[in-house]
Symmetry: C2
Subunit: 345 residues, 2 copies
């Protein structure tokens, strides 16, 4: 299992080597947990869930959960099931999103609905949401006190509702084409940042962190999530890769509004704004419209302004960690904040 | 809000009148909780969830949860949020099921996907699953110890996975058309009985019942669920109502196998079995095929045998309650077991 966040080994010194090794170790723990949770040779549903989860993606949310537990001084092995659950909850939303967006590819393979059909994909997504909570419960069997499990589950449930509110809000924004920057920022706070917040908060809560640390890590997660989502939006304008190209075409096809676009509309004046709307609403070849939108957004300064916004969130994410004692986990979380706005995919 | 289980007032004596009044009270508590959880005038998602939940159905699962809490001596008001959550979890599965089955009507109104579209229906179902756990967490704020909340959430999460396994298994059975009675009984145990079990178990756990009582109530819920589902299947053969007719046509259209059908295949011999398969697999008018299937199943004794099976489950459900002390809640649970196999809709 490969992690984008574990490739620094060759580039940095000893401290980074340690971090990279620990991250690899954590990724492998979560990967094993995911593999063992759903039998690839088992019943139909188990096979679908296995397909969806293995091989995993970057496992970024599980890593956030584990390092948040580590940052409050906990034994991270106790909370590995919760970390696997965080990935499952994320993947559940991807499975259902891919149905909604009609995306046939995910992580370089057919998406779940493309491989197994819409009906099985709906049910598999539901199963992974339930598994998220079952996995939190499993931490209780590993010695995490029930009181923490209940609080973590409650935080995750609230985040899940936020996620759905964000998805619904995004659909509304795209359909109505009424979207300004504050609405967009609220939408990504719900759609993306909520699960980041939940991962960090549940790691801190399960790890037994005092309230002040739990609040700080929840805040870190939420800010990091916004930095992450804005940077993701930016990749459409800064990456030429085939995989990204596909994702961006989907954004254009689904008339999904992103921050560089919205900022370009604000910065570029009425003529640019009208032309951007015309391209987004157009019915021509998505690739050609994407090229036109991309050039307009870049010229109007939308890319630069969005990159500033992402960096701002990342800096604030790091700052709220100040209340925590210095630990390798805290250092890694700071590193994640930087890496999130510097990654290329 | 109307309850099928609160209509006995005119027919029985004083004890029943008390029960009927208490059930009406409980139904109104849950109804209020559901109404207040999602703002009918709020954001798009809240409006959809409100539409899906209000006016409610029979609220049978919430009543099971509340009476299970009552049967272990708890203050039922503390667990009203969990009861609302049980309904939300059930409705979530209905919303997603209606997409899968292509059913445009539910409870006499357009189903959620018919009213709001597939995409919103997927997201609303997800939101209600998360709300189920948020609602369990809310019981903690009403004074239920966190330790019980964690255990209840874990039981509900396991049941939710079972539900999905049952849905997946049902799809497999219909597609492959390889189905015998034991497979069917396992399928309904997962698809239907699991949420009944979870409602009763979580009521008992949240209510602080000792392990023996919690186990008994979980067992009661599971047996009751199977009685309920088999009786539901039977209604296709014993009810002439328009509403039922619609549901049965959907069953036929989706080639859904039910116990009377499967028992008729076993009891009727090869010729009947072949003719039943021919009708189910046919492409003619569903209503005509339904009439043919119905006559064959009845003649072969499938209806009678399935009714016996449902009554058997109901009797066993009542028997496992023996370990509990005599209370009005226990009496009501016994009544539910009888009513479940005697209801007409």
């Amino acid at each position: 299992m490969e992690s984008t966040y574990s490739t620094g080994k060759r580039d940095f010194g000893t401290a980074i080597l340690d971090r990279s090794d620990r991250i690899d170790h954590l990724v492998s723990l979560v990967g094993k947990q995911l593999e063992n949770s759903w039998d690839a040779e088992g019943a139909h549903l188990a096979r679908i869930c296995h397909y969806a989860l293995v091989p995993g993606g970057k496992l970024f949310r599980p890593l956030l959960l584990l390092e948040s537990a580590g940052a409050v001084g906990a034994d991270v092995e106790q909370v590995v099931p919760a970390a696997a659950g965080a990935e499952a909850g994320h993947v559940a939303s991807l499975i259902h999103d891919d149905i909604i967006d009609g995306d046939a590819m995910r992580r370089g393979r057919p998406s779940v609905h493309a491989a197994y059909g819409r009906d099985d994909a709906i049910v598999a997504g539901d199963a992974l949401i339930f598994y998220l909570f079952a996995a939190l419960g499993e931490c209780g069997q590993r010695g995490v006190p029930d009181e923490r499990v209940a609080r973590a589950m409650t935080a995750v449930a609230a985040a899940g509702i936020d996620l759905c509110r964000g998805q619904s809000m995004e659909a509304e924004l795209c359909e109505g084409y009424v979207c300004d920057v504050p609405s967009y920022l609220e939408m990504i706070r719900l759609k993306t940042s909520a699960l980041f917040r939940a991962a960090c908060a549940s790691g801190a809560i399960l790890g037994g962190g005092p309230p002040e640390w739990c609040t700080a890590l929840a805040g870190y997660g939420e800010l990091l999530g916004s930095a992450f989502q804005i940077h993701d939006d930016l990749l459409a304008y800064t990456s030429d890769g085939d995989a990204m190209g596909k994702a961006v075409t989907s954004d254009i096809a689904n008339q999904r509004l992103t921050l560089p676009f919205l900022l370009a509309r604000e910065l570029g004046g009425e003529a640019v704004s009208a032309e951007l709307d015309r391209q987004l609403r157009g019915t021509g070849d998505p690739a050609a419209r994407l090229a036109a939108v991309s050039a307009l957004v870049r010229e109007a300064g939308g890319v630069e302004a969005a990159a500033d916004a992402a960096r701002g969130y990342a800096v604030r994410a790091t700052e709220v960690l100040d209340v925590l004692p210095g630990t390798p986990s805290k250092e890694t979380l700071s590193y994640f904040a930087q890496a999130t706005v510097n990654r290329c995919g």
